[in-house]
């Protein structure tokens, strides 16, 4: 009988243990009013670390910068600042903070909080990448290189509600820059260390952190001290889930309200549903090929141009891209305010002539074997295969495909150990210089060996012009020089895709794919 009892006991144990464990593991509150499928787990909620998209999205929910942008027009709107003015040369700025701005612990937001935050960002000891946005502020570069201490930064708080900044150079789009998620105030506690692990996070934005389970979700609640609190959903869940297919499934069953990453294969069927949940919009980003001009054959501009013109971008888009992307003939994405749109120059016959000419100039009978390097992602793979076939058919050349991890690709590009490499640039503000600066001869991300003094001068001269049509025309001329050199071969301009449930209003669509929760309101 003993054995039976024992077996029965074990059986009971086998039932009880899972139930107990399950009860232990299920400590989640019910579904939030608004659920965001946010991709990867944010590296940190510290705004100084908010350099990637998932972090930026969370930080926007938690913190309010001086300026927020309209979700459709990207017009600067009052955020923590109620109003602002600048001198005519754009080098000195004064911001008047709202009288009703509060931290989630009830303290008022004061100009000092911004001063502390900006100094902290620029301080090399913080190790924030966002410091790059503040390099035009007086003394920022000296502080960065360790020559001055952080309190010499050109930002001051003459009174609790007034914030003053002085700049050394006029940045391209300073107001929109101030809307970046990293450039938010920080409430420094008595210990002097903000964002300490284990302490509650104090925020000044629409929401505050209610709870957080690593790699699962961040539960947010309305910041009841915020002036507009009543307009927003009472609770928000930020889900950390890096499987796009899974997030799609959850969206379709109504478990998620906003999905930012959609499997490319599903975009076409989703847009065919035509129920308004898929928000596709052109985006300020360009997918391109870096050509290593230090390689023998690729040093010849005719050969590079042949590679460029022999690509059939329309066919590539049809074969490999989900749908909303525009084939690119220029580097600057056409959405940047008032920017021109270029016609495609794809021309196989001309490409063949150019190749012949280039080979003759180099004294070659045929092109040495080339390699196209790209990083591990299905889309890059598909594009690489299409490129391989198009070059083979148009020019009769065989390009080897070399697929590598992102880190290896970056290392190879950095050390100049490549022929052709996949690259991309996503604009973080709406000025053409954000693209054109990448290929200045001393720019760290140029990596192509392309160095043209005339191009450098043209970009810098044009950038210094006051905003307006004349400046854009000058920048366009500079871009023409870059395109003619074919050191960078643009393929297409990105599109952004979001799935948004009808429960949400004011989501908006814009070329920077920015969505400020300040504009988002409870829907039906």
């Amino acid at each position: 009988m003993g054995v039976v009892t024992r077996i029965a006991g074990w059986g009971a144990l086998a039932v009880v243990i899972p139930v107990l464990l399950l009860a232990l593991a299920l400590r989640h509150p019910p579904r939030a009013d608004f659920v965001v499928g946010n991709g990867n787990e944010p590296k940190s909620l510290d705004p100084a670390e908010a350099s990637a998209l998932p972090e930026g999205r969370v930080v926007r929910f938690l913190f309010e910068p001086l300026i927020v942008l309209d979700n459709s027009t990207l017009e600067p709107l009052p955020g923590a600042a109620a109003s602002w003015e600048s001198t005519a040369d754009g080098l000195a700025w004064t911001f008047h903070l709202r009288s009703n701005g509060y931290w989630s612990d009830g303290h008022p937001v004061v100009a000092r909080d911004f001063v502390n935050a900006f100094r902290r960002l620029v301080d090399p000891a913080t190790g924030s990448r966002a410091a790059a946005y503040l390099l035009d502020v007086t003394n920022a570069r000296e502080i960065r290189s360790g020559k001055l201490s952080a309190d010499k930064l050109g930002i001051a708080a003459p009174s609790p509600s007034v914030l003053m900044m002085t700049l050394e150079r006029r940045p391209a789009d300073w107001l929109r820059t101030l809307a970046f998620p990293a450039l938010v105030p920080v409430s420094i506690p008595a210990s002097g260390i903000p964002f300490e692990n284990g302490k509650p996070l104090i925020s000044n934005g629409p929401f505050r952190v209610a709870s957080r389970t690593p790699r699962d979700r961040i539960r947010l609640e309305r910041n009841s001290f915020h002036r507009d609190a009543s307009r927003w959903p009472a609770s928000v869940d930020i889900l950390a889930c890096d499987s796009a297919s899974t997030l799609l499934n959850m969206f379709l069953t109504g478990d998620v309200d906003w999905v930012t990453d959609i499997p490319p294969a599903v975009i076409a069927p989703l847009s065919r549903r035509n129920d308004g949940t898929l928000r596709a919009a052109p985006m300020s980003g360009t997918y391109f090929i870096r050509v290593n001009t230090r390689r023998r054959a690729l040093g010849n501009r005719h050969i590079r141009a042949a590679l460029d013109l022999s690509i059939d971008r329309r066919a590539m888009a049809a074969a490999a891209l989900p749908g909303g992307e525009l084939p690119a003939s220029g580097l600057v994405a056409p959405l940047t305010d008032g920017w021109r749109s270029l016609a495609l120059r794809d021309n196989v016959a001309r490409a063949r002539e150019l190749l012949k000419q280039g080979l003759k100039e180099e004294g070659l009978t045929e092109l040495p074997p080339l390699e196209y390097a790209y990083n591990t992602l299905d889309l890059h793979q598909t594009i690489a295969e299409v490129l391989q076939r198009q070059w083979q058919e148009a020019l009769g050349i065989r390009v080897r495909l070399s697929r590598m991890e992102n880190a290896s690709l970056l290392a190879a590009v950095r050390s100049g150990d490549f022929d052709l490499a996949r690259g991309s640039w996503i604009a973080d503000h709406l000025d053409p210089t954000t693209f054109l600066d990448v290929f200045l001869s001393d720019a760290p991300n140029n990596q192509t060996g392309f160095a043209d003094q005339d191009y450098d001068r043209a970009v810098k001269a044009a950038a210094a012009l006051p905003p307006g049509a004349q400046r854009l025309a000058a920048l366009a001329l500079a871009e023409d020089r870059l395109i003619a050199a074919s050191a960078v071969i643009p393929l297409y301009h990105y599109a952004s895709y979001n799935l948004v449930s009808p429960r949400v209003d004011g989501f908006g669509s814009n070329p920077l794919d920015l969505h400020f929760p300040q504009g988002i309101t409870k829907g039906r």
Partner: protein, 337 residues
């Protein structure tokens, strides 16, 4: 070579424990077999963990490139700061010892990819989720597998036996991800009975646990069936039956204890199977368990987190093996520890 004080202590303690444990086997020869068995197996577990930790650590250090090399826009100053903050510039023996010392204190260090939490916190949050899912899967496997095996063995020669045998063969052959996709499509999207992904209520756990349990249930059914077929013709079972005991009682009291031996010994491998499956299932169903943590840590080169996960998995599987052997011996008196 200069070693810091805590690291020298780690080194000393580790070597002492290894030496002491490796001698316990011989010293405990005359004490109770259970004590000797446990001492021997725990020593083996300890050594396994150290060896695995050392191998994994060596691998991490041997491969060029670190967790901070993926970012093209990162300032060299910032990178240098980070490398120093995470101690990646220290000599390898130093880092290895302090990492090993951390393992003994259940402190795996700060996570490099997720700055707000230590690796221990992240793994600690994922562990109960995975454990619950795994326990539920094991429970499903036992509830499905053992009765099927008993039915197949007792109904041998009838139609049900080949059916159960074929189903269990198929169950062993179909990969987890296929089962999970079918289950999600049918019960999640088709019938709308259960959520398709996520974690939060008991309903979330059912589909993934079921998908995880299938190969284990299939294996259990086969083991129980074979075990019973060996046991049923034996003398003591025949005697019991001849005494006129009810068939259920014969089965329950006389045949099953012997027959379940191989199935109980299978708990160790079953735990390994379920843990392995959880890597795929957790990421498919967006379940915040250890499996997803481990896969993404390995992909992100988050050294402390990946290392911590491997150490935990090693310990778990070793302990389950010890437990399985122990249980097997309890159930089957012929087995000596």
């Amino acid at each position: 070579m200069h070693l810091s004080f805590p690291n020298s202590v780690t080194l000393l303690i580790t070597s002492l424990v290894v030496v002491a444990l490796s001698r316990t086997g011989s010293r405990l020869k005359h004490s109770r077999p259970l004590t000797a068995f446990l001492a021997r197996r725990l020593a083996a577990t300890f050594i396994t963990v150290i060896v695995v930790h050392a191998c994994a650590f060596a691998l991490m250090r041997a491969v060029p490139g670190g967790p901070f090399d993926t970012d093209p826009r990162m300032d060299p100053i910032v990178r240098a700061n980070l490398v120093a903050r995470y101690g990646l510039d220290r000599p390898w023996i130093e880092s290895w010892l302090s990492s090993l010392g951390g393992v003994f204190r259940a402190d795996f260090g700060p996570s490099m990819a997720w700055r707000d939490n230590s690796a221990t916190e992240i793994l600690g949050a994922g562990f109960p989720v995975s454990a619950a899912l795994g326990a539920l899967a094991l429970f499903f496997a036992i509830v499905i597998g053992v009765p099927s095996g008993i039915v197949a063995a007792t109904q041998r020669g009838k139609w049900i036996d080949p059916v159960i045998r074929s189903v269990s063969s198929v169950g062993l052959a179909v990969p987890n991800f296929l089962v999970a996709t079918v289950l999600i499509s049918v019960f999640g999207f088709g019938l709308r009975w259960l959520p398709v992904a996520g974690f939060g209520t008991w309903r979330h756990a059912i589909l993934p646990a079921f998908a995880l349990s299938l190969p284990v249930a299939a294996a259990l059914a086969r083991l129980v069936r074979t075990g019973l077929l060996i046991e049923l013709p034996k003398d003591h079972v025949r005697t019991a039956r001849a005494k006129g005991l009810s068939p259920l009682r014969v089965l329950w009291v006389h045949a099953l204890p012997g027959a379940l031996g191989p199935a109980v010994a299978y708990i160790g491998p079953a735990a390994a199977t379920i843990l392995t499956g959880s890597l795929v299932i957790e990421s498919m169903a967006a379940i915040p368990g250890m499996g997803t943590h481990f896969v993404s840590a390995a992909m992100n080169r988050d050294y402390p987190l990946a290392l911590g996960a491997v150490v935990i998995y090693t310990t778990l599987v070793s302990l389950f093996n010890v437990f399985a052997d122990l249980a097997h011996a309890r159930l089957d008196p012929r087995i000596r520890l």
